[in-house]
Amino acid sequence: MAAVLALTALGLSLVFGVMRVVNVAHGEFFMLGAVLAWWFANLVVGNPALGFLIALVGSPLVVGALALVADRLVLKRLDYNPEATIVATIGMLYILQQLALTFYGPDARPVVAPISFRVQFPWFGYSGYKLVVVAASAIVLLGVWVLLARTKIGLIMRATQYDRETAQAFGIRVDRVYAGVFALGAMLAAVAAVLIVPIQQAYYLMGQDPLLLSFIVVIVGGLGSLRGTVVAAIFIGMSDGIISVFFSPTLAKILATLLVAMVLVYRPQGLFGARDT
């Protein structure tokens, strides 16, 4: 779970890091990714693996394109004002969610996993597909890291993150970078969603939970810090399980939420972020 969480949170963190805006509709991109995965997978009858692969490619592309459109039509016009963006993305959240309900329906629908085997440990079993998910997530994370750290695109992104005005002065088309980042963030959520649908089901309200968790991860990891996000995702993914051994799961969620609030109040740069005052 931590792996998928890391992907989703990374998308959110990327958007926040570079654009300094919070995308509340992020969870809905995740949901859309899952719903589209179901749709793509059902285009191909008879071969679940092929259907899944098509979904893995197609779903993020569609979601990314949609995010691009949303960016052009709405966010750009708001000039990425942080507070206006939150309100606008809350609006998008409702729009996406209700459109999914209208066209996809209220049912939770499963997608067949491309592979299915079961790993039997001495005292319990574990689905082999989940291990595949972990591996796939790691590969995507690595890919994003390479993109950011080793390519020109990454350099441009980091430059924009560092100083918007200066980047503009150097001839970087900041608005294009923003649109790209927004789409990339959404695509990461969609990839995470496609990976998860064989485990969970595609459902129109499924965006809420990952959104909240991603928030937690991004905040604990330090707003906008990519490395912190990944570390925090793994940390929280693991600790979530550990906390809920000692406390009731609802209490565990309460403690986690309070912790996040307190982190923001007392250490706004995140637990793993560097202090920069």
Binding site: Y94, T102, F215, I254, T257, A261
Partner: protein
């Protein structure tokens, strides 16, 4: 500002209240009930506007204060058999207390962090109401018996009494808010919205003023929540859910942030929009989403904000 202008604003607000009194004799039954609901919810929005519209603080956690009002009233009736009047006071005080604590912590942050912190606090409150389901009955909620919902000789489940109780709450909130906005304290709150650093350098303790705005706002929310529980007899976790943090924002944005009457206009419009579209499958929340996006793009000042800009500059 001369005296005549002030009177004009005051008259307008008294006129609105008078109009609402007249309306109660004239409205058909269904709309009568709706307006009573809207008045209670508009009181919630009035409070939200003090914080958001006047002080410039965008909270995403007001469901917590509304819920504190709902439970603050409902729990004491259910667990200790308090009368409705005491329950109302208990609801308001609970919300004020909760907002004081939340404000004390959350106001250390600004901007986006403030939004997220308030959101997280509200989420904590929501989960807490689920955790203690033995007392709160969690998501299922509980009913306040009809017999208990009376203050003195006034049976709050009677539709006329309910309307007037809702209107009374609204009128009190409206006039308090009008007085606040036009007071020197209101001027300081606006100055914080406009330029926080400058107001600090005029010698104002920004933190204290923000906390004041938040507590007043929370108390309004709590009064509305407690009243809602008393008038409609249901207490449940749904009132602490995130939707009830989004709604007041939406109402205020729609009606006009930073206008005294805007929340009423916004709540009324939004309520009817949802009510009309809910006949069409799945569309009601879609409308909410579309309205939010349209508002923020083209009418960031809301209905009354636009009116003030174009026609009535004296509107408070």
């Amino acid at each position: 500002m001369n005296g005549r202008l002030l009177d004009r604003a005051l008259l307008l607000h008294l006129g609105v209240i008078a109009g609402l009194i007249v309306l109660q004799y004239w409205l058909p039954a269904y709309h009568h009930g709706i307006v009573a609901r809207v008045l209670v919810l508009a009181s919630f929005a009035l409070g939200y506007n003090i914080l958001f519209g006047y002080t410039g603080l965008l909270s995403l956690g007001h469901a917590l204060f509304f819920g504190a009002g709902v439970y603050g009233a409902g729990m004491v009736m259910r667990e200790f058999g308090w009368p409705a009047s005491a329950a109302l006071v208990s609801g308001i005080l609970s919300a004020a207390l909760v907002s004081l604590v939340v404000g004390f912590l959350a106001l250390r942050t600004v901007g986006v962090a403030f939004m997220i912190v308030t959101l997280m606090f509200a989420q904590t409150g929501y989960l807490t109401s689920l955790l203690f389901n033995r007392y709160t009955r969690g998501d299922e909620g509980f009913v306040i018996p009809q017999a208990a919902r009376a203050i003195g000789p006034f049976d709050l489940s009677d539709s006329t009494t309910r309307y007037f109780a809702a209107l009374l709450l609204f009128a009190i909130c409206l006039l308090i808010k009008l007085a606040l906005v036009r007071s020197s304290t209101g001027r300081v709150l606006v100055s914080i919205r406009e330029n926080e650093e400058r107001s600090r350098m005029l010698g104002y303790n920004i933190f204290r003023y923000k906390l004041l705005a938040l507590v007043i706002s929370g108390a309004f929310a709590g009064a509305a929540g407690a009243m809602y529980a008393l008038l409609f007899g249901y207490v449940g976790a749904t009132f602490v859910s995130i939707q009830y943090s989004i709604f007041p924002l939406l109402w205020v944005l729609l009606g006009g942030a930073g206008t005294v009457l805007g929340p009423l206009v916004g709540t009324l419009l939004m309520f009817y929009l949802v009510d009309l579209t809910s006949g069409i499958a799945a569309a009601s929340l879609l409308a909410v989403g579309v309205v939010l996006v349209i508002l923020i793009l083209w009418f960031p000042k809301g209905v009354l904000g636009a009116v003030r800009e174009r026609a009535l500059p004296w509107l408070p």
